[in-house]
């Protein structure tokens, strides 16, 4: 279960935010109404972008893999990469790029070490399918799946500071940061800065 509320709690009211892979802009709309932010989006899917623009949102049809370098440094208060980093061609490059765009970034992702996934592979011997990862292996846009531990290793290596973190799993319930989050959380949320 993904909970936007966790991210909303981190975001200051009135901030200028870039949403990566904003889709039809529902996420921007939601933050606009809850946090009164100034929201901008980028998405590659033209039909979703039409919908977002038709709804009066500032969205650019573009490729996150190549277009992020166009923005000036520190041009946003936050960049939010919600459930999108695992889709990137080079997630490390994207993360480094968004760290340039704002002081604080938020990355949320499905944790591939979640116990249901582990057990799925163990008992079925097949690529796991869950509500959050529903795709057949040959259709999945999630080309770079990773775990919470992987991500923390990456942050350490890249000298990225974890300001706050939160986890959800087992239908909505928060998972304690202390009680094996890498095993029991389905989705992870990180507030980061360089």
């Amino acid at each position: 279960m993904k909970k936007l509320g966790i991210i909303k709690n981190w975001v200051k009211e009135g901030s200028k935010i870039l949403f990566l892979g904003c889709g039809n802009g529902e996420i921007i709309k939601s933050f606009k109404s809850s946090n009164k932010i100034k929201g901008f989006g980028i998405d590659i899917d033209e039909n979703k972008v039409y919908e977002a623009i038709s709804n009066g949102l500032s969205v650019i049809q573009g490729d996150i893999n190549s277009d992020l370098t166009d923005y000036p440094k520190k041009s946003f208060d936050y960049v939010i990469a919600h459930d999108i980093i695992q889709v990137m061609t080079k997630p490390d490059v994207t993360i480094r790029q968004i760290l340039e765009l704002s002081d604080k970034i938020i990355i949320s992702f499905p944790n591939f070490a979640y116990i249901k996934i582990r057990l799925g592979i163990l008992f079925s011997g097949r690529m796991p399918k869950t509500k959050i990862l529903p795709y057949e292996w040959y259709r999945s846009p999630n080309i770079h799946l990773f775990t919470i531990k992987d991500f923390k290793d990456f942050c350490k290596k890249e000298d990225i500071q974890i300001v706050d973190q939160n986890f959800t799993g087992f239908n909505k319930k928060y998972v304690s940061k202390l009680f094996f989050p890498n095993l029991f959380s389905e989705f992870a949320y990180f507030l980061l800065k360089k």
Partner: protein, 390 residues
């Protein structure tokens, strides 16, 4: 009387009967000084308005037309008109440029032949049409009379400016010349400057005109007109406004009357339906357009370069205060998406609020003139976002 009124006029979405108005300024000795230093005056521009200006004059939208367009953007000039204005799909009550909410203005560019001062206008100094004595004008020059018109109408800032193709160049030029005079801007199917390919097509068109014996160095207003040259120019231009796909869908290899003319008399011009269509386009164009205007305007387009006088595109666009909506069309090969993306990139680098889409359409460069519900929703959505921003 009822039956002579075009059906569409009775539609709720029509701007109704509109009158073309005229505004004259730059009376000598206070002529308009053009970018090449030459003077032009008096200058008249033809314009139309739709909807009503609100009390604080904050709801005006300025529409720029494309190469062969005119001030008549919406509604009908008379009940006998068969067709409405050129952007009637977008302008009218309940349409994206909703005339119940906005005051929409469209004026004919100078150099044109639809009521604004151009080469076919009478030169007051000689009492004869200007012809080639009309000064060379630029895209930059074309927006000055439009600004004067706004001053005359008492409008200080615009809610939005919009235009496709050359109209898009005029939008870009407006943003550079008057960066803080519009809340929003729609930059549609255009380019920061012409590619060699686009110049080449225009050049062949101009060549067709000046090689027409009737052209007579632009002095043809009292005799036969260079109709052949102008119609060929239009035929070439028209090909560039369509896409391979739209031509394939519309004509394919269909032949006129369904059979190839395998007679002993060769017909090199009328065999395929696409030939027929282009000739029709050429022939109808000569009835409504002046060959010299075609030369002057295409020249202005080819000479246009928004980066002129600046270090680069980013530098040129840096002062813009408007929220921008850049739009290209997937099948537009005259102004391909890369050119719009250059504009988007420069706007982003400057931190200007920007929206962009490469709209999926088979209709080529002219796609912005095609009635498409998705396109209308995008336009309406963008206008809504400007409102939220103010």
């Amino acid at each position: 009387m009822e039956e002579t009124i075009p059906k569409k006029l009775n539609d709720e979405g029509s701007a109704g009967i509109v009158e073309t108005l005229y505004f004259t300024f730059a009376e000598p000795p206070e002529e308009l000084v053009l970018s090449n230093g030459s003077k032009l005056g008096p200058v008249t521009i033809a314009y139309e308005t739709y909807g009503a200006l609100n009390h604080d004059k904050s709801n005006a939208i300025l529409v720029f037309h494309a190469l062969s367009g005119d001030a008549h953007a919406a509604g009908y000039n008379s009940p006998e008109d068969k067709k409405p204005g050129w952007w009637d799909i977008m302008i009218g009550p309940g349409k994206p440029f909703d005339t119940d909410k906005y005051f929409v203005i469209c004026s004919n560019i100078i150099g044109g032949c639809k009521g604004s001062t151009g080469p076919s206008s009478i030169n007051p100094a000689t009492g004869k049409p200007y012809g080639l004595s009309f000064p060379i004008i630029s895209i930059k020059d074309m927006i000055i009379p439009q600004k004067k018109l706004l001053d005359y109408l008492g409008i200080k800032t615009l809610f939005c400016i919009t235009g496709g193709s050359v109209g898009g160049m005029l939008v870009l030029q407006w943003l550079v010349s008057y960066p803080d005079l519009s809340e929003g801007a729609m930059i549609i199917a255009t380019s920061p400057n012409h590619t060699a390919q686009a110049i080449a097509f225009n050049s062949v068109g101009r060549y067709a005109i000046i090689k027409d014996p009737n052209w007579n160095n632009g002095d043809y207003y009292e005799g036969e007109k260079p109709d052949k040259g102008l119609s060929i120019a239009r035929m070439i231009g028209h090909i560039t406004y369509l896409s391979e796909e739209s031509m394939r869908r519309k004509f394919g290899r269909k032949v006129i009357d369904g059979k190839l003319s395998l007679t002993d008399i060769a017909d090199f011009t009328k065999e395929f339906e696409v030939e027929n269509y282009l000739q029709y386009q050429g022939e109808s164009f000569i009835k409504r357009f002046d060959a010299n205007s075609y030369l002057y305007i295409t020249k202005a387009i080819d000479d246009f370069d928004i980066t002129e006088g600046f270090e680069n595109l980013c530098d040129a666009l840096k002062e813009i205060k408007a929220k921008c909506f850049v739009m290209s069309f997937t099948s537009d090969w005259l102004y391909p998406k890369e050119q719009s993306m250059k504009i988007v990139k420069a706007l982003k680098i400057n931190g200007i609020e920007t929206t962009y889409t490469n709209f999926e359409s088979p209709y080529g460069h002219d796609a912005f003139l095609i009635d498409d519900a998705r396109l209308k929703r995008l336009f309406a959505g963008f206008l809504k976002s400007i409102k939220e921003r103010i």
